[in-house]
């Protein structure tokens, strides 16, 4: 056990010294201010147009309802708009502003938009070369000729990856909160958010709807984002075991993640696509109550699909790594 902790420490040091995490923090520090600025511009322009948030909300409901009558919009977009309209109406009826500008709301929105591409890409920066770099650098020969079983070495790498994924998420949320707070103020933890909207055909079922605080919402969201980020990490881990070159493993995973977000937008009639891991990554749609990319997908379904893919990836990683011949 003590030896295992030393192994995990070794792997953590390697990733740290490679300055992977530092690069991720730099990217966040460069990009988040850009998004904050964009959000600030939106807030300023709507402040100029409407006397208060209720008028703005009414306008948005009207706009979206009008759009529904148009023939040019595809069916699934209509469904999405119906859901949005009914949610906005729910907020209006209860006199709750869904768009008060504050750091917590900004962070929630940012996480929600980042789960599909941005967070997976940052996770890949660590996950893609955690095994393949040892092979392309030749250090695997030193690593595997020490008196330690191979599965222990791989397990220490997996634990290290899990810790870095968690750290990346917490850092993303923290940077987003701290930077946006400069502009929007650091409040908003206790503001209410409605959750539990359920889509029933084209109608919104609001019987299960209840209010939670934005702070609780952020925690729930972070949990879901963590689950989907871990799935990406573990599959990248497997690719990293299978492929010698770091570049090849990075490109493979980026292609998988990006094609997932493309598929999610166009595959609504190809039903079996819902068993692919990459269309299930955006778990926050279930929290928002928007319609899922493919009919029949639920939170439980997506979690199960991601879990099965993850377990299979871990199984393959260990099976291959413990048996494979290190030829070159």
């Amino acid at each position: 056990m003590r030896r295992d902790l030393e192994l995990i420490r070794n792997e953590t040091v390697k990733v740290w010294k490679k300055k992977r995490f530092a690069v991720i923090v730099l990217i966040l520090l460069a990009l988040v201010p850009v998004f904050v600025y964009a959000q600030m511009k939106i807030a300023q322009s709507s402040q100029g147009k409407y006397e208060d948030w209720r008028a703005e909300l009414r306008q948005r409901i009207a706009d979206n309802t009008n759009a529904l009558t148009s023939d040019r919009i595809p069916e699934e977009w209509k469904k999405w708009r119906v859901a949005l309209v009914q949610q906005l109406q729910y907020y209006l009826d209860r006199d709750v502003n869904p768009n008060t500008p504050n750091a917590v709301r900004f962070t929630n929105t940012f996480l929600q938009n980042a789960v599909g591409l941005f967070i997976p890409l940052m996770v890949l920066a660590v996950a893609s070369d955690i095994v393949s770099s040892e092979r392309s650098g030749g250090t695997i020969k030193m690593l595997l000729t020490r008196p330690v079983r191979r599965w222990r070495i791989l397990a220490s790498k997996l634990v290290t990856l899990t810790m870095y994924v968690s750290l990346i998420l917490v850092t993303t949320a923290a940077v987003s909160y701290l930077v946006s707070g400069l502009v929007f103020g650091y409040g908003g933890w206790r503001e209410p958010v409605f959750v539990g909207f359920r889509l029933n055909g084209s109608d919104m079922d609001t019987t299960g709807v209840h209010a939670i605080t934005q702070g609780a919402y952020m925690l729930m969201q972070l949990g879901l984002v963590w689950f989907s980020a871990m799935t990406v990490a573990v599959i990248a881990f497997m690719v990293s075991v299978l492929v010698r070159s770091t570049a090849a493993s990075l490109v493979t995973m980026m292609a998988a993640v990006i094609s997932g977000s493309i598929l999610a937008n166009m595959a609504s009639s190809w039903h079996s696509a819902k068993y692919l891991f990459n269309v299930n990554l955006d778990l926050s749609v279930y929290l928002q109550g928007s319609p899922p990319p493919i009919e029949g997908m639920t939170l439980g379904f997506s979690l199960a699909v991601l879990a099965i893919w993850s377990l299979a990836a871990i199984g393959v990683s260990f099976a291959v790594f413990t048996r494979q011949d290190i030829l070159a």
């Binding site: 192994l7 008196p147 330690v148 048996r323 011949d325």
Partner: protein
């Protein structure tokens, strides 16, 4: 500083050949009584249906320097990778200090330090951080041991610099330091002199001799016979994935036919004289077997096979005939000529 003095002391000793002979004999006697440190039994490996290693067996005793000699592509590295559990053998077994490497690598590899091919370390970390990393993978290696091995390989001055700033020789030494961390009973070095300059090679030889004198077994692979000759007690010769000979290095070299090079003032007259002499066998066809650096030193020299005892008489005969002899030089057999004498007529005839 103290270790510096010691290292010089040892290299002085190594250059004194009678001392070395006696040390060798002592070491050999002592080690015959103990069980082998490394024992390879009927090792074979097939990759995609092609047999790369075919039924290799040999033993390495405690405190001996064992050579593993073969041309490039003969299966040296594949075999070494099987010794340290990087490649699983198709059949056969490897024991280190009685532990099966394939079944219990965590026990067997405790006694092994190795460098397989190039000593690759993490370039983005310092030498110390690298050693610390590998020290943590094994019980009971503390900072004092890291300091000690850094001093032994004389890297203590640069140990806190990033490895990517190291020269090849320094990387080699860091690799050896890593291999020595766990005070192994068996040190495996794969072509350790590759890429080192002559001074570095000499230092490495003295260093290996010192380690063996302290009781460590050293297993060294090389494609250069001279390298093995200068370093090893016993040798296994591998070709085409098979061990074609195992034995005492010096006995084996004595078996191989040595060549003698002749350089005359008048090459034509000299050649005629040698060809006429029944004691001399002019062997122009063997030119390809000889060490190029020796041929370069004597351009136009005539390679021959002649018994050492007959050389004075042949020289006298040349002098009497008025043909000036510029140089007569005995040439150490190369791996190629050793192969010839071992396989009795060409490597291709041996079926490889």
């Amino acid at each position: 500083m103290q270790t510096d003095v010691k290292a010089r002391d040892i290299s002085d000793k190594a250059s004194n050949s009678s001392e070395t002979e006696r040390e060798r004999a002592n070491r050999a006697n002592r080690s015959r009584l103990e069980p082998p440190v490394l024992s390879v039994e009927h090792l074979s490996k097939s990759i995609r249906g092609r047999k790369i290693i075919d039924d290799i067996s040999f033993d390495v005793r405690a405190g001996e320097i064992y050579g593993f000699l073969g041309p490039n592509g003969s299966g040296k590295t594949t075999t070494i990778r099987m010794l340290v559990d990087l490649i699983k053998p198709t059949s056969g077994r490897v024991f280190v200090c009685g532990e099966d490497v394939n079944k219990h690598p965590e026990r067997a590899l405790r006694h092994v330090g190795c460098i397989v091919e190039n000593p690759e370390m993490y370039g983005y970390m310092t030498g110390w951080e690298n050693l610390d990393l590998f020290a943590r993978m094994q019980e009971g290696i503390g900072d004092t041991r890291i300091e000690e091995v850094a001093r032994i390989v004389r890297l203590d001055a640069r140990i806190h610099d990033k490895v990517k700033t190291y020269s090849l020789g320094m990387r080699q030494r860091l690799g050896i330091a890593q291999a020595l961390l766990g005070a192994p009973k068996l040190l495996i070095l794969d072509e350790p002199t590759n890429g080192l300059d002559p001074k570095g090679i000499k230092e490495l030889r003295a260093f290996i001799a010192e380690l063996a004198a302290e009781g460590m077994s050293v297993f060294v692979s090389s494609h250069l016979l001279s390298e093995i000759q200068l370093l090893c007690d016993r040798v296994a010769i591998i070709d085409g994935g098979r061990v074609i000979a195992v034995g005492d290095v010096h006995e084996m070299i004595a078996q191989a036919e040595a060549h003698t090079l002749w350089l005359f003032e008048d090459p034509e007259a000299g050649r005629r004289l040698l060809s006429d002499d029944p004691r001399v066998d002019v062997a122009d066809q063997d030119r390809a077997l000889l060490d190029e650096s020796v041929l370069l030193a004597l351009p136009g020299a005539i390679p021959t096979r002649v018994s050492q005892a007959d050389i004075p008489a042949v020289v006298a005969r040349c002098a009497a005939a008025g043909v000036g002899v510029l140089a007569v030089q005995r040439v150490v057999p190369t791996l190629e000529s050793l192969f010839l004498s071992l396989t009795g007529g060409g490597r291709d005839a041996s079926g490889s």
